[in-house]
Symmetry: C2
């Protein structure tokens, strides 16, 4: 685990609790933190609450899970630093239908990119980060996401 | 109303029922068909079930509503023609936070574009359409969406 993130198990638990309590759609979609390690943050959700008109995963759910995997990574990087994190742009390509439980994998940026992002936030009170995520289902990549996130220092932030 | 669409009030009711019954997140997000006329299809949703960690609308909900406003328009154009409609690509720019009830407005394409799309679907059993939507809140544009949708003829389709 990179030193900038909280200890792995505690971080996963903190993120799970924060997502569940602050975004009502997270429990509705039954989203959970599946894995956090040196390589990536992985979120997952089952098909049933996220199905669409043809019994595969609703595109909005694929997008929502991918967005939250990236958002969650930024939240962890800035945890305890008083940041509000918002998405500015999100682009999604849907490759094939997801027919069962699905996961969104957001790779951690290289350590120097993480460090620059956190340092810029601490110095200027504002910093941006581009992240990518892949959505997998049954061992296949079903969708790709690219997003731009901005962190702003705020007294309102709960982190 | 363009002749390719079902009569206006019936179309809005059909779409509302179809969305509610086939996508569990639609009632969870409290999405409703607000308006369908010669200019656009408008869907709306309240803040409460769609709020995020800072009390504004979750980016995934903004994206979901915009996606469904475009998807709904394609569904109406092909209603009764045995089409399965899926999203291939969706790109979203978030301009400012949505702080209360929000609406997604998908303008109807020009009549000749609608006609070509339906004719191509009937001839080849497959057709694609690019659509745009804006998300509004309190009289301001808060986000813009562009999506590519594909319709495929299918025995499984319920339309």
């Amino acid at each position: 685990m990179h030193a900038l993130l909280p200890p792995r198990e505690e971080a996963a638990r903190l993120l799970q609790e924060y997502l569940e309590h602050s975004i009502p759609l997270v429990p509705q979609m039954q989203i959970r933190v599946v894995e956090l390690n040196d390589a990536h943050l992985v979120l997952g959700a089952p098909l049933a609450p996220n199905r669409n008109h043809i019994g595969t995963v609703f595109g909005g759910s694929l997008n929502g899970l991918a967005t939250l995997s990236c958002w969650g990574l930024v939240w962890l990087l800035l945890h305890g630093r008083g940041a509000q994190i918002v998405i500015r742009e999100g682009n999604m390509k849907f490759r094939r239908p997801a027919t069962s439980e699905f996961t969104a994998h957001c790779p951690l940026p290289p350590p120097d990119v993480q460090r620059q992002f956190v340092e810029q936030f601490q110095r200027r009170g504002r910093a941006g980060l581009d992240l990518e995520a892949e959505v997998h289902c049954n061992g296949s990549r079903v969708a790709e996401f690219q997003g731009n996130f901005v962190a702003i220092r705020s007294a309102k932030a709960e982190t």
